[in-house]
Each structure stands twice: as structure tokens, then as C-alpha cells.
Amino acid sequence: MPRWALFLLMFAVGVTAGLVYGWIIAPVEYTETAPASLRADYRTDYVLMVAETFHAEQDAELAARRLSVLGSEPPEAIALQALDFARQSGYAPEDLSLLAALSQAMRLVTQGGAP
């Protein structure tokens, strides 16, 4: 094998080993994440908390502000995603009802007519 080919091969092996180590064995660990990075079930529960609070307070603007930490999408989209996940995951009817009411309210907020 030519010397340059051996050099190239060993370089490629080194890159591969570095990637395996850096991505799989010891990946970068994040310890200070934002709510937007929450896993779908945790995210849905976060939205459910907002829905429970909204049900008592009936303050759609405040609910929209609370949902805004979950990402840059409109609050209506965030609420609808949570509602879809909750439906697929078999949440209790009472929780689905709360999430549906929040989604409806967020739709009005998005359209500029908060209840």
C-alpha cells in the first residue's frame, strides 16, 4: 500500500473514532435547556398545566404568554400539537376538554380577538 494511502486510511479511522466517541460515547451534555426542548409528553403536560390554569383564570393573553416559552410557533399551534398528542396517548376526557378549550382560546388570540 502506498504510504499516502495508509496515511489517509489512518486519518479516516481517526475521524471515525472521534465521531463515535464525541457523538455516542461521550456526547455534549446540556444541563440548562429551555422548555422548547422538552420531550413531547412533558411538553404536553406543560400545556395541560396552562390549560388548567386558563380554565380557572380565563386569561387568554396570559395563557398565550405561558405557551410562548415552548417555542416560536403560534400559541394555537402549540396547543393543538398538545391536544393531538393527548388524544393519541389516551388522556382523560376532562384533560382533553381543557386542552380543547385552550386551543380554541388560542385560536382567538391568534386571530386578534382574545376572549
Partner: protein, 291 residues
């Protein structure tokens, strides 16, 4: 020597490649986590999470659900974390309502026995049978058996789609609190002379009609040129219906329980004497109760 040179070249190439690989993996294109657990949230977001949990608890009265949610944050002592946050909020001048909500949840958790045997209401055991791993490199995902376990195992993973297999359970009934509407009346006022206590300590205890401590009651104390608000329940280690305030000697205070409680006026730190006739500033103890 020639053999060494022949071996050094490929070794150098390997080390260069290894360095390049690590540079790519850790700096240029690090693993992107999209499925974090609440325990990994930044401190200020954890505060938001606790406050939202307290608000949801106030709205729903579901204590087990609140307990389950708080466990996701991975605080060693959730009650202590709530209390500390309430005190920080008070010191930072945040709305009284936030402080009251946090104190009320802390107190409810302290009073109610843990229902560890109950299933988690919302975040019931989560398995990932339909998980689809994308090309994004991932840390190994733990099989999250419960929210608490999930929080303790730093459950980061790549873009899987989690599917809770056990549906949430119905909510329990609201935790009983003080009789709504009934005003608290001053039932006891004592001078406390104890050199062991801080000078001018004003201790307030608020009880309901059944003489159970009531947390989250706002107390307003005013004096010439000043006013301060504080709440019962922020020191659950002393008592859920307990609150205190340090009085300045020679200042006359007026205290009332908000909203619309009876005024207690002419409160002042008393002067006490030790057995050796030395004087020191004593304290007061007030007890309020619902009729």
C-alpha cells in the same frame, strides 16, 4: 529508526483524524437534544415550571398531579424548593399571588401524605415501542419507567416519538383549606421574653376553625412611613400557619390579615429583662383563628 518513522506517520494521521472527529462531534456539529426532561431546564425555567404547577394545583386541586410534576424537576426536597422560591419571589417584589400560590402548594404537600402507591396522573409510565431514531446521533435513551425515574436518569434522547401507554387517571378532590369568607379574629396576643429568639421577633400563627394551620394567608404590617407584606406557610419547618417579622425597637406597628381582616394596632417590641436585670428587646406572638 526507519521502522519508527514508518509507524509514526500512520499514528500521526490517526491522531489528527481523532482530533478532527472530536472537533466535529463536540464543537462544529454537537448532538442536538430535542427531548429533554424538566430536570434539565435552566433555573429560571424551573421557577416558571414550579409556579405553573402551583397555579394548576390552585385551579384543579389535584395534589398528586402537582406532586408528580414537581418530582420531574429533580429537586431533592420539592417543598423546600417551593418555599425557597416563594421567599425569593417575595424578596424580588413579585406579585403576591405568585407567592401565595407557591406557599399554598408547599403547605399542601407538607400536610398531605405522599401517595407513592398511586399511579402518576399525567406522565404515567412511558415506553417507546414506536420510537424512530433519525440520523441525529443520540445518547442512549433510558426506558422511562416513571416520571421520577425519568428525571433522575437524565433522560435525553434523539428524535423519538414517545407514546405513554397508560392513560392519565382521574383527579382527586380538592385539598381542603380554610373556610372561605370567614374572617380571622385575633384570639391571643402574648409578650415573648426569650433571649434565644431574635430581638423584636413578631410571630404570627393563623388557624382555621378546626385549629389547623392555614398557609398562604397574606399579612400586612404598617408603620409610620412603611408597609410590608408577608405570608404564612413560608417556613413549613416551623408551622404551615406560621409567619414572622422583625420589629424595630421603638416603632409602633399595625397589623392586619388581608383581605379585610381585623386591625391589630399599637404593636411594639417589648423590653424584657434577664435574671441579671439586663434589658433586651423581646418579641410578640399573635394568634388568629377563624370563628
Amino acid at each position: 529508526m526507519r521502522n519508527f518513522r514508518q509507524a509514526a506517520g500512520p499514528l500521526l494521521a490517526f491522531l489528527l483524524g481523532l482530533g478532527a472527529g472530536l472537533l466535529i462531534a463536540w464543537v462544529i456539529a454537537p448532538v442536538e437534544y430535542v427531548d429533554a426532561a424538566p430536570s434539565l431546564l435552566r433555573a429560571d425555567y424551573k421557577d416558571q415550571y414550579r409556579l405553573l404547577t402551583a397555579s394548576a394545583y390552585a385551579a384543579s386541586g389535584n395534589l398528586e398531579r402537582a406532586r408528580s410534576r414537581l418530582s420531574l424537576l429533580g429537586d431533592p426536597d420539592p417543598v423546600q424548593a417551593l418555599t425557597a422560591q416563594a421567599q425569593r419571589a417575595l424578596a424580588a417584589g413579585q406579585p403576591w399571588e405568585s407567592v401565595r400560590l407557591l406557599a399554598a402548594l408547599a403547605s399542601a404537600l407538607q400536610n398531605a401524605p405522599s401517595a407513592a402507591s398511586l399511579p402518576s396522573p399525567t406522565l404515567a409510565p412511558v415506553l417507546f415501542p414506536q420510537g424512530e431514531t433519525t440520523a441525529v446521533p443520540a445518547a442512549p435513551r433510558p426506558a422511562s419507567p416513571s416520571p421520577a425515574a425519568a428525571s433522575s436518569q437524565a433522560p435525553l434522547a434523539a428524535t423519538h416519538t414517545p407514546v405513554p401507554l397508560i392513560p392519565p387517571t382521574p383527579r382527586p378532590t380538592r385539598t381542603p383549606t380554610a373556610t372561605p369568607g370567614a374572617l380571622f379574629a385575633l384570639t391571643r396576643q402574648d409578650v415573648i421574653c426569650s433571649p434565644a429568639l431574635p430581638d423584636g421577633l413578631l410571630q404570627v400563627t393563623v388557624l382555621d376553625a378546626a385549629r389547623k394551620p392555614v398557609p398562604g394567608v397574606e399579612i400586612v404590617i404598617t408603620w409610620n412611613g412603611g408597609e410590608e407584606h408577608f405570608f404564612t406557610g413560608l417556613k413549613p419547618d416551623v408551622g404551615n400557619g406560621y409567619a414572622d417579622f422583625i420589629m424595630t425597637p421603638d416603632v409602633i406597628y399595625t397589623l392586619r390579615l388581608a383581605p379585610g381582616g381585623t386591625l391589630v394596632s399599637d404593636l411594639a417590641a417589648p423590653v424584657c429583662q434577664t435574671e441579671g436585670q439586663e434589658t433586651y428587646v423581646g418579641g410578640l406572638r399573635l394568634e388568629f383563628q377563624q370563628p
